[in-house]
Amino acid sequence: MINLRATAATAALLCLTAFGAAPASADGEVNVYTYRETKLIQPLFDAFTKDTGIKVNVVSASSGLEQRMKAEGANSPADVLLTVDIGRMDEAVKAEVTQPIKSMVIDEIVPAQYRDPDGHWAGISMRARVIYASKDRVKQDKITYEELADPKWKGKICIRSGQHIYNNGLFAAYTAKYGEAKAEEWLRGVKANLAQKPSGGDREAARDVAAGKCDIGIGNTYYWALMMNNDPEKKPWAEATKVILPTFEGGGTHVNLSGVLLAKNAPNKANGVKLIEWLVGDKAQQIYADSNYEYPIRAGVAVNPTIAGYGKLTADPLPIAKIAANRKAASTLVDKVGFDN
């Protein structure tokens, strides 16, 4: 028994000492919680450190970060939360773990449509939900979102789960525009046009178009560019398709945001604000645009040539906050019409 106890005690000690606890607050540091993969944003943080001498500590996750911040409370080391979707920003604000950013720079650079009315979040880049259409089989060069429910596409559309955040955002935008009853009718129409059960990711939509399983796939702008430029093996998938920027009738293309929030208890608040402001600066916006092929939030920063090749983006004018408010309704509609079944 002695041995067992000694071993247990050693294990407990090791637990506490094996990994040095990072101090919450330190001069010249900033702590970032992010839903964006570290591998993608690391170049950005490296550039920030080079510019300012401030070290960036990161933890990335796929969900639950706002809950973690909430539980950590006043002792939370988090200064900045980076998200890839309006839904998470909304959650963070509701969880009361953020504070208004209060920055003239942000107010000046980020258009009001892409900022929280109360200042809790700001977009730093945009991606559009678009159509990967077969070069051979789709003659049209313009498609509206409404048209996706048109029976002429019967058995021709491929899409990932209707509950995925990207689709949830698009469906929420439709609901915000037309109301639940019309959104339901539209979703039923789209479902009736599906070539197969929703599954896989956005790239698979392009692949299935390339393989002739369907004529149009729904995906985000950057996946196509990544396949085209960064992945020789998947290049044929992109090459078989053309990207069409769909629009709402009388509106524009649905965009989602990756955004940034300032933690309520940020121990390094000044550095946090510095990072947020730096992220919308020219240099960061250019790195972001070129490394992940997103649309810069800042006017005057060049869109990556591959993305520019899709045509000029006219983003739908619907305020992002209104889309966020309709996420729940859209999610329920997806279940109601059995979109994923």
């Binding site: 247990a8 933890v59 080391p77 509950q163 956005d202």
Partner: protein, 548 residues
């Protein structure tokens, strides 16, 4: 009957402490579920639950049945027979354990999807469109069942093997003298005797399946777990998700109760008079070849195919040539977290069962059952439940330090990674408790009594009798927990400290951008880290054949 000794009290205290540890996140989830979640249940009941309950039941049933068939079959062939290549199979068969379900799903979809390897091969003979039609649709319930069972069957195999190889020869020989053939002996003797172990293995498979989100979602199967996530993430209702989790917890508890009730009268202890073990039956020629091939097939599908695919991707992408040194650090983190958690879980699990063995009481029985609850919570739900209690301790420490005028220590539990280890322990504690309990069930209480009769105390009995007899069960548990920890993703993502990555979170970074192949090397390292312990297990677990 037994006096309460000092060691008995220690074991009992550990058992109760363990139960409290496991109960903490569960209670925290129940507390979350107490909050009102308006508008969540009505649409769920109307549109979601009928379908997802059915899909979940079919998935669990399918994966359970298939893993049971593969796991029992391989364990029986290897434990009770001798044939060419058996030694090699001994360490090959458990290896699919090293492949996370989500990776298996990615690999198989890649292989069988349009323009994938199989399609391109078919397209050599068939027109492109016909080749597309000839492909099996893996993104379906049957597809999910096959892919998941192929990597989870080792759970059944490991526990079944422990049972088969320790079964007394007497029963089999008695059956033989009564004219029973090999199959009759298997069906009428070996299988019923192995039932508790098979139940444990199948339960682990079912709980892993229930917990899985990556593979099911990717393959388009909407399980209850997927519904929990949707409810929380898209409907912004943590309370609703917690309620759904409690509902799942209730279902699982019900299943466990039914299973217990079903074998309430089954005695599986082997006869005290006959410690002699079954001699392995030699299989010569074609029979031996068939046995070898049958055991090799699941290994090929569940392990070699994904392994070769990952290796191929790593080579093709030059990942070996441009080795990312950060992966060593990630591998170290993975192994350190997993080792600490495995050791702790083994000790706590052993103490919990020992307390029950030494002196059965209602409290100890409850403690033993609570210890197994953690496995029923999806990883992320467990992590969410753990946040409140763990951070309450952290915050209390800070308040204490502040009141004493000391400088604030910051978040010790979360900041040091202890929270990750605790999450692993809670989540996987069911494995050592299950394995060790099944192991103890084979050790007749007569042994304990005899030991006492010659004056041995409890600890001596444990050291000289229980521990040696439990070794295979414990080794099996260690491997399963260790490898499970290496693969664990959602709790690791949420609870790890700043700037800490593990191999699993590293793969996730790529997978979430839709190009998991870029993470092939990290995946290979997980596999590599698992092969060592599994090989080690085999070396010690194969007891010599014949009279002991």
């Amino acid at each position: 009957m037994t006096r309460t000794t000092r060691s008995g009290r220690i074991a009992a205290s550990i058992a109760v402490a363990t139960a409290i540890l496991v109960a903490a996140p569960v209670i925290s989830i129940i507390a979350l579920a107490m909050q009102p979640a308006p508008d969540v249940w009505q649409p769920l009941i109307e549109y979601v639950l009928p379908r997802s309950l059915l899909d979940t039941a079919l998935l669990l049933g399918g994966v359970g049945a298939l893993s049971l068939a593969i796991g029992t079959g391989t364990a029986w062939a290897i434990s009770l027979h001798e044939f060419r290549g058996r030694a090699m199979l001994l360490w090959l068969v458990p290896l699919p354990l090293a492949i996370p379900t989500y990776l298996a799903a990615y690999v198989y979809v890649d292989l069988f999807e349009p323009l994938g390897l199989v399609h391109r091969t078919l397209a050599v003979w068939l027109p492109l469109q016909d080749a597309v039609r000839a492909l099996p649709n893996l993104r379906s319930l049957p597809g999910a069942i096959i892919v998941i069972a192929l990597v989870l069957y080792p759970y059944v195999y490991l526990s079944a093997r422990t049972m088969f190889q320790f079964q007394s020869a007497e029963f089999a020989e008695a059956a033989k003298t009564l004219g029973a053939g090999r199959w009759t002996t298997f069906w009428r003797i070996s299988l019923p005797m192995a039932r508790p172990a098979l139940a444990v293995g199948t339960a682990l498979v079912s709980l892993e399946t229930l917990n899985d989100i990556g593979a099911s979602e990717y393959l388009g199967v909407r399980t209850l777990t997927v519904s929990v996530f949707t409810t929380w993430l898209n409907r912004g209702s943590l309370a609703g998700a917690a309620q759904l989790s409690c509902f799942m917890l209730a279902i699982v508890a019900g299943l466990i109760a039914i299973e217990r009730y079903g074998r309430r009268n089954v005695t599986t202890e082997f006869s005290a008079e006959s410690p002699r073990l079954t001699q392995r039956t030699p299989l010569a020629g074609i029979k031996g070849g068939l046995a070898f091939a049958a055991c090799l097939l699941p290994v090929c599908l569940g392990f070699l195919v994904p392994l070769l695919y990952l290796a191929h991707q790593s080579f093709k992408r030059g990942l070996f040539a441009n080795f990312d040194m950060a992966l060593w650090r990630d591998a170290f983190n993975s192994i350190a977290f997993a080792s600490l958690a495995t050791l702790t879980a083994l000790l706590l699990g052993f103490a919990t069962i020992l307390a029950w063995r030494w002196r059965p009481s209602r409290l100890r029985f409850v403690a033993m059952n609570i210890a197994q609850l953690g496995y029923t919570l999806p990883g992320l739900v467990l992590a969410l439940g753990l946040l409140a209690p763990v951070l309450a301790i952290d915050n209390a420490l800070n308040t204490l330090a502040a009141s004493l005028g000391q400088s604030l220590p910051g978040l010790i539990m979360v900041g040091s990674g202890a929270a990750v280890v605790i999450a692993y322990v809670i989540r996987f504690l069911a494995v050592p408790t299950g394995f060790i309990k099944a192991g103890f069930e084979r050790i007749p209480r007569d042994y304990d009594d005899s030991a006492r009769a010659v004056g041995a105390g409890q600890t001596t009995t444990m050291r000289l009798i229980h521990l040696p007899l439990l070794r295979p069960a414990m080794l099996g548990a260690v491997i399963v927990v260790f490898v499970d920890c290496l693969k664990e993703l959602p709790a690791t993502l949420l609870l790890r400290p700043l700037n800490v990555e593990t191999l699993a979170t590293s793969i996730y970074q790529y997978a979430s951008r839709g190009s998991f192949e870029e993470g092939a090397l990290a995946a290979l390292l997980i596999v590599a880290a698992s092969i060592g312990p599994v090989a080690w297990l085999t070396r010690f677990s194969d007891i010599p054949s014949g009279p002991a």
